[in-house]
Symmetry: C2
Subunit: 489 residues, 2 copies
């Protein structure tokens, strides 16, 4: 028992230091003076060095060998610590350092190339990143599939084969739904100007409405919305666009989904490996069900319309139904982060289907742009207009995030399953949402999923909550019903 | 040479981690959600553990033994690293941990006792803190004087004997000046209401006027004004009082003095032991000369009066001269941090003369309050009204800060010397300040003192800047001349 106690005391400090690292990231995006970047890089490198040393500390191996799982929680803690330790031991320090250096440089080159619409300027460093991440994946895979090994960093227990089957069922029905919608009469875009201060009033209000606890968090502005931290200090950011209040409102609800997940985890998992969301996919299921299935529902948008009328006055939308259609408007677009519920996953699947062969060596960096553009035309029905709308769109690959994209769509699939189970469990849901009251919905998610943190494997976390084996079916049924109704299909 | 290079690379990471620790402290006072305190304590304890391990790492001893000073900078770096390493090695880990635990508890007890005006509730834990710090001082002193050992943590190279001689010359002339002023016609207090937003406009403006670089810092509100950080990220805070704009304005100038000192250090000392102010006393010399000799001068208050009229409109002060007298008003008071230039050091000397026998075992905690109250009546001429204005006034002793108080007065003495030398070097000073232009004054301080950071021992730092051996004389001459003029003495 001493070994387990010692292990968990050591781990607790590591978790606390990881929280500090996360807060440096938050500070960098919200508070840091513009001239402090060079110092911040040294601070983060020094702290990363400390964390890496702790995560590969040989004592971990000794404690793990001598520990016995006394109960389910201890078993889960040992499972998580062992998984990460074995993974980290497999990555040579030289490779980890080179990856950190190259991705840091690549991110700057990517940003510059994107500004200049210059793919050629980005490809050489992308080539390096791909080579290093492939090497890392091979090291972690230990003879297994290189892409699956990378995927497991974000989604333990899932395989690319499983995702390929799931997404293979998703894609044709989404493409068909998109085509049917585009053939129907279109919804006009909302016009108007929405002062920033009033948008932030609404953002704070919806954050509270969705259960965000400001005593253990705060909401600031940043260039990109994000949620940061676990335990007692989970901070979120949002941004405003004067002509598009939905950007601020729905990115806030999305981040509140991530943040309340962290805030909702049982206190007994505090500063343990279980004290965070089960995986990226499960995390995304929370942000997406808050944002879409709840936040963009007819019931909730009815309440939101009323609040926006009070805050902005008459903004040119005559009634709740028109407002609901504006919130859920489907339109042609190139950008994943701006995509509607129907098209979002098509963007993700495109990346998933390109990054797998790239990691396995079956697709070369030189051929990547053509492959992207071909696939985009296939699924969206029109041609890309510029690289910043295509291959240069996302930061992910430049910083080596291969295996991360599919967790977005997996999260949407999980959200579909959770929504189905939630509807069954809370028949009063629409009545609640029409009053801006999410407490029963959030309460059900907290009780059945959020509070367990990383206790169970990701897929099992969702399966236990919903009571059935998760699949893409509920999401597709929901989308076809919702948009069939909205577009009179 | 390899040993020195390795040593400095290791030290650079330690300095970077110390910056992270400082930023956690800043965040706690400005941004942290109220419910995050328990987590923050664990984060700081974990990081403190990392720092302590690095500061007592046996490799430091090996590198130090194998390093040779190639030049003045290397010599100073080795001097500083050696001093701190030997000091840290002398403190048993058990004692350091107990001190951290007890002082953390004592601070809470002190705050509660202060609220309740209950000295008896504070004394038992103060007894513990005194015992532990005495034990620590004895360990560091290694046979030398226990108080001097503690003093050296804040002011290396200075002795209590030296300070006692200096302060012994200061005290009678300050008491006499105070008595003469109190016998003269008094200056009425400024009345009025000053909106917070406008105070912050002025605060930002004076920060810029005194050379604070916002590209490498930021100004936020906090309960207590402070400056935090070194190098490229030096942040300051201020506070506002609706009836007293001087609190906000002069605390901002004070903190800008600390912050621009850090910002003004040569880049070659970045993330080395020399990349920070030379000592607490030298630091305080910068904050005080900015605040007092420059900021409360007739020339600068003339400019400030004009700016305040523009921002606040007519606030009931008819002219520059009346404004200057209001800024420099001397009045009876109990509180060190609210004291004017004449009385401030009397508050400090009182503490210095009590904490020395306390540490040496010549004064018991049980007798401390009576000793404080007696001494207060002697120097200020009237009796204390309540414990929160006396023994319970400052947080310092509760957190174990013995040996810290004298650096405040030493800083004022140094500021007096620097002001004398500055006047000689920059004859146009009053003309500059009357236009709100501090650039020549700040430029002189930067060139002659600030940029060297910790290169020289503290006293030598000031001596080199002013060209003479620092003493209390210039401060006393300045105060007697200034207040003699103001009060028609």
């Amino acid at each position: 028992m001493t070994a387990y106690v010692d292990l968990m005391a050591f781990q607790r400090e590591t978790e606390a230091l990881a929280q500090v690292m996360g807060r440096l990231g938050w500070d960098q995006e919200t508070m840091m003076p513009s001239g402090a970047a060079a110092q911040r890089a040294e601070e983060m490198a020094a702290l990363e060095g400390v964390l890496h040393a702790r995560r590969t500390d040989p004592r971990l191996g000794e404690w793990l060998a001598a520990s016995e799982a006394g109960d389910e929680t201890a078993g889960a803690n040992l499972r998580e610590i062992r998984r990460r330790y074995e993974r980290n031991l497999r990555v040579p320090a030289r490779l980890a350092a080179e990856l950190a250096r190259v991705t840091s440089r690549a991110q700057g080159i990517w940003a510059e190339a994107r500004r200049n619409e210059d793919v050629a300027a980005f490809l050489p460093v992308l080539e390096e990143v791909v080579r290093l991440r492939r090497e890392e994946g091979q090291a972690i895979a230990n003879g297994g599939d290189v892409y699956d090994a990378l995927l497991h960093d974000y989604e333990p227990g899932t395989s690319s084969a499983e995702l390929t089957a799931m997404f293979g069922a998703l894609r044709p029905r989404l493409v068909a739904l998109r085509e049917t919608i585009k053939a129907a009469p279109q919804v006009p875009e909302m016009q108007g100007s929405f002062p920033e201060e009033a948008q932030l009033v609404i953002a704070n209000e919806v954050a509270r409405a969705f259960g965000y606890d400001f005593a253990r968090g705060r909401l600031d502005k940043a260039v990109h919305p994000f949620s940061s931290g676990s335990g007692l200090d989970v901070r979120i950011t949002t941004r405003t666009n004067p002509t598009d209040p939905f950007n601020c409102i729905y990115s806030t609800i999305h981040e509140v989904g991530h943040a309340t997940y962290e805030q909702g985890i049982d206190a007994r998992h505090f500063l343990t490996p279980l004290g965070q969301g089960a995986s990226m996919g499960v995390h995304e299921s929370q942000s997406r069900i808050y944002e879409n299935q709840l936040g963009r529902s007819r019931a909730f948008t009815g309440w939101l319309y009323g609040r926006m009328r009070q805050v902005f006055g008459d903004f040119g939308v005559p009634d709740e139904e028109t407002f609901h259609r504006a919130v859920n408007r489907v339109s042609d677009g190139y950008v994943r982060t701006e995509a509607d519920e129907v098209q979002y996953n098509l963007h993700v699947l495109l990346r998933f289907d390109l990054e797998q062969p790239l990691m396995r060596g079956d697709l070369q960096v030189a051929d990547l742009e053509a492959a992207w553009n071909d696939r985009f035309r296939q699924d969206f029905g029109f041609a890309l207009d510029r690289p910043s709308h295509g291959l240069l769109q996302d930061v992910h690959w430049s910083v080596g995030l291969f295996g991360y994209f599919p967790t977005y769509s997996l999260g949407n699939v999980y959200a579909g399953c959770l929504h189905k189970a939630l509807r069954d469990a809370v028949p009063e849901l629409d009545g609640d949402l029409a009053r801006g009251d999410t407490s029963r919905a959030v309460g059900w998610l907290r009780e059945n999923l959020q509070r367990h943190g990383g206790l169970r494997e990701p897929r099992q976390t969702v399966a236990t909550a919903v009571g059935f084996d998760p699949s893409e079916g509920p999401l597709l049924d929901y989308l076809e019903a919702k948009f069939g109704d909205l577009y009179g299909l």
